[in-house]
């Protein structure tokens, strides 16, 4: 029986989705092996977030709340996670591999002499053994790892684990993590945030994405994609081929080397479906492919497909979507 520690954060007093995903993964292990679930809540003005974590399955919450921790600061966050791992006597530490977790996990693993797997998409518990499944080679293969070390620190691929249901009135313990964490004295200091200029819907938040690849042929084609996106209130994405060619900015790239998206609907237009690209849409619910080549790998991932020249289909698709009011 081992204790599990999950990393948690809050924005304006509300627990982040990633925090709940980590709790969801922790519950898979707890259901099979028992043990206590601890969460370390790092941030500023965390408000009711600790109580929310308990309502979602944490048994104990360790709070590091300090105005200086409002934004991610690598060294103090790492120190807080390390201190909480010690307090919780955690055999397994789980974080979601977002900007924060991806940065923290390897260093925390090193400090705890822990085996570590990143981009975990599935967890299987077999007796005392926990198996960590992750994609490798751009998703062409899956690797199943087990830890040989006493402690383990893993990063979960975002949006792969469901948040546990909220239980009103669930009881747990909340403790302050007694630490002095001054980011100003750290060797690395986050001093400024630069916003990426986004017109319209952010890819990561989009419920519908219209994405184009090599088959779009140039920036003019992406203007057509934008027209459909405007009708649907969707964001426009692209494969690496299209961004490398400069047809759209690199910030619109979806894939292993771009953005990980999780829309309800992903319309892939003129995209062949290289595994590098598909790695970015693993969490998409419904995928539509429009491609001339029936052999294109995208049709293996897609739920619905049209084998045709996208240019012929698109005007009609835009009209039909306008007819239904376009509310996606």
């Amino acid at each position: 029986m081992t204790n599990i520690l999950t990393l948690a954060g809050a924005q304006e007093g509300t627990v982040t989705k990633a925090s709940l995903e980590a709790l969801g993964a922790a519950r898979i292990i707890q259901a099979a092996q028992g043990g206590q679930i601890h969460a370390v809540l790092i941030g500023a003005n965390t408000g009711d977030a600790a109580a929310e974590l308990i309502a979602h399955g944490a048994d104990t919450v360790w709070v590091a709340d300090d105005p200086a921790l409002a934004e991610y600061q690598p060294d103090p966050y790492l120190a807080a996670a390390q201190a909480a791992a010690r307090q919780a006597d955690a055999g397994v530490v789980l974080t979601v591999g977002d900007d924060t977790g991806r940065d923290l996990a390897p260093r925390l693993a090193h400090r705890l002499a822990a085996g570590s797997v990143t981009e975990v998409i599935d967890i299987k518990v077999d007796g005392p053994e926990i198996q960590w499944v992750r994609p490798v080679y751009g998703g062409k293969a899956h690797a199943v790892y087990v830890a040989l070390s006493e402690r383990q620190v893993h990063a979960l691929r975002p949006k792969m684990f469901a948040a546990p249901a909220r239980e009103q009135g669930r009881q747990g313990e909340v403790n302050k993590l007694g630490l002095s964490l001054d980011p100003a004295t750290a060797a690395a200091r986050c001093v400024e945030k630069l916003q990426e200029a986004v017109s319209g819907v952010r890819l990561e938040d989009a419920r519908v994405i219209v994405a184009g690849g090599r088959g779009i042929g140039g920036p003019e084609g992406f203007a057509d994609l934008q027209r459909l996106a405007d009708v649907l209130g969707a964001a426009v994405g692209a494969s690496r081929v299209a961004t490398d060619a400069g047809w759209v900015p690199a910030t619109q790239q979806v894939g292993q080397t771009g953005k990980m998206v999780a829309p309800d609907l992903y319309i892939a237009v003129g995209i062949s479906g290289a595994s590098q690209h598909l790695a970015g849409v693993t969490a998409a619910k419904t995928v539509v492919a429009i491609n001339r080549d029936v052999e294109a790998p995208i049709f293996k991932r897609a739920d619905l497909g049209i084998v045709a020249d996208w240019k012929a289909v698109f005007p009609h698709l835009i009209d039909k979507c306008k007819e239904i009011g376009g509310q996606a």
């Binding site: 900007d99 060797a187 590098q276 293996k300 698709l317 996606a328």
Partner: protein
């Protein structure tokens, strides 16, 4: 400024899925006709290393840990004017995981006289772990920044733009530091010049083994074990919309999407 850039050769990630094969029983990749290439993020890191050296002076050492000869990627680093290239390997290291690799790399960097800045690709195209660079930082006691788009150096400090969701975080870091690098408009790899390629061919590529380094044998034992390697079966069956008329196809598609309640 002393810069070490850690490179990795990987299976060509552009290989078609039908040509991608694994030996499931031995949990290994089947190389087949696929090429080994310099990992693309490592290429970005190398480009950044060369730019920083060209601007501030000093040296760039290219380092890789590999059981296979890596003359192609290290030779390319030399042709691109890296000052030195080193391969590290010992026959006793059967199965180095990220921790073990980080231990070996850190000891090799020390053997090479240390560094002010150690650069890595943010993750490789094969294992895609994104672990080793940060763990080397911990091994060396260096500051650590991951997923850097740009790095500027002045007065024993670096100013790093770290790519995050929705933009960048500007991080000030005291050197020495380890930085993992992502692709950015400013670090598109350069091409080698013929003259430099000729010069590079004359440079030796030494191989360092455990005995040359202060490696703790216990630390080369893996902390994770690969239990299974498999090719996932493709999910779902794609329903191809019938019809030859684009108008009908578009209509049917919208109908099906409404049935699925995604439109």
């Amino acid at each position: 400024m002393k810069i070490v850039v850690c490179l990795k050769q990987t299976l060509d990630p552009e290989i078609a899925p039908k040509d991608f094969k694994i030996d499931a029983a031995n949990r290994k990749l089947v190389q087949g006709n696929a090429k080994q290439v310099l990992d693309s993020y490592a290429e970005n890191a190398l480009e950044l290393a060369l730019q920083l050296r060209d601007k501030h002076g000093g040296t760039v050492t290219a380092l890789t840990v590999d059981d296979k000869p890596a003359d192609k990627i290290l030779g390319r680093a030399l042709a691109l004017t890296a000052d030195k290239a080193v391969r590290v390997w010992d026959a006793a290291w059967a199965d180095l995981d990220a921790h073990a690799l980080a231990h070996v790399i850190a000891r090799a960097i020390e053997k090479e006289g240390g560094a002010d800045l150690v650069l890595f690709g943010r993750q490789s195209a094969d294992a895609e772990r994104g672990l080793v660079g940060s763990m080397v930082a911990e091994e060396l006691g260096f500051a650590c920044i991951t997923v850097a788009a740009t790095v500027e150096v002045a007065d024993a400090k670096a100013r790093v733009q770290r790519e995050v969701s929705g933009g960048f975080t500007v991080v000030e870091v005291d050197l020495p530091a380890a930085v993992t690098v992502t692709s950015h408009a400013t670090n598109t790899p350069r091409l080698p010049k013929v003259k430099d390629t000729m010069m590079a061919m004359r440079k030796p590529i030494p191989v360092l083994a455990a005995g040359d380094l202060d490696v703790d044998a216990d630390r080369t034992a893996p902390r994770v074990q690969l239990r299974d390697l498999l090719i996932p079966t493709s999910e779902g069956d794609c329903e191809l919309i019938a019809g030859d008329e684009p108008r009908d196809q578009a209509g049917s598609l919208v109908t099906r999407l409404r049935e699925r309640k995604v439109l």
